[in-house]
């Protein structure tokens, strides 16, 4: 049982996440992707009668919303019931870089300096939580998928579109990490 309380190594986690793709295909002919759920949620309450959200969201998305509910429960089991006991074993260079930017709290899965109810009251925390979330939602739908839909599912199916999207993910991610974060932290 001890192993349930230890961090899962990357070479174990990667193949298990990859198996989500064939499991969903074989169990129900479904293509793995998480961000489509945000569209289904918008479709469920389409106040403005926007064409993009006019579809049968129950037919298209009920399975995926159920999957999403499962991932919340899985998060509860992994992060609460069987939480990893030690701080994350980060690369020393990353810790040094982040300390230089002013990140002080390395306990837990996310920095309380940026991601917590208290941080929501600071300008930087507000930007991280509100603007970060907004760009994730806007960008995922604009690109037609997120990390799961493009980087995992799409690349697994050798889709050129997904390769372009993943290159886009890294263009944005590198700009944020190297140029914008140093300005806002």
């Amino acid at each position: 049982m001890d192993i349930l309380f230890q961090p899962m190594p990357w070479y174990v986690a990667g193949p298990i996440i990859g198996l989500t793709v064939p499991l969903l295909l074989i169990m129900g002919g479904k293509m793995f992707g998480v961000s489509a759920n945000l569209r289904h949620a918008c479709a469920a309450c389409n106040f403005g009668n926007i064409a993009f959200f006019n579809y049968d969201w129950k037919e298209a998305g009920w399975w995926n919303l159920t999957f999403l509910a499962g991932s919340i429960i899985g998060g509860f089991l992994g992060g609460y019931v069987f939480a990893n006991p030690e701080p994350i074993d980060l690369a020393a260079s990353t810790i040094a870089d982040l300390q230089a930017l002013g990140i002080q709290d390395f306990a837990g899965l996310v920095p309380a300096d940026l991601i917590s109810w208290a941080a929501l009251g600071t300008p930087t925390g507000l930007i991280v939580l509100v603007l970060g979330g907004f760009m994730v939602g806007f960008g995922a739908r604009y690109a037609g998928g997120c990390t799961s839909g493009h980087a995992i599912s799409g690349l697994s199916d050798l889709q050129l579109a997904s390769l372009i999207a993943v290159i886009g993910f890294f263009i944005g991610g590198l700009i944020m990490t190297y140029f914008i974060y140093p300005l806002i932290l």
Binding site: P7, A13, P15, L38, W63, G78, I88, Y142, G172, M176
Partner: protein
């Protein structure tokens, strides 16, 4: 009763959320480490997931494997002619991914782990999705 039909999706989702948290994919720190190219951790996870995905899909396609209902498995191809949407939309997603340190799956897994403040980016992401739906016709694709 469709209970069993949906139970399987719930269980696969549970395994997914559990692995995301236990392997620290949900961590803002791990995303920072990835974009700084300081560790194999995230690349190893995403890379191995893709390798397993590629092999699985090739096996499914070459053997014409059917799903559990007996229907042929078809994967709709993505439109690779819409380069603008993948580069612009993808870059905006990447900006948000690095800023928040979480993409859609991890946002929900983190919420489940007890980080209740994640409800804020989740609502923002839904708002972002809604605004995309509103502006869709006037955006380059």
């Amino acid at each position: 009763m469709k209970f069993l039909e949906y139970l399987k999706y719930l269980l696969i989702g549970m395994a997914f959320g559990f692995v995301l948290v236990k392997s620290e994919v949900v961590s803002w720190f791990r995303i920072q480490e990835m974009f700084r190219f300081d560790s194999i951790h995230m690349y190893g996870i995403i890379g191995l997931a893709i390798v397993v995905g590629i092999i699985s899909i090739q096996i499914i396609k070459r053997n014409n494997i059917k799903d559990t209902k007996g229907n042929p498995i078809t994967i709709p191809p993505k439109d690779s002619t819409q380069v603008k949407r993948y580069i612009i939309g993808g870059s905006l997603f990447g900006l948000g991914w690095a800023l928040l340190g979480a993409c859609p799956g991890p946002m929900f897994a983190l919420l489940g782990s007890g980080l209740t403040v994640m409800i804020i980016p989740i609502l923002s992401a839904a708002a972002g999705t809604y605004v995309y739906g509103m502006l869709r016709d006037s955006l380059p694709h």
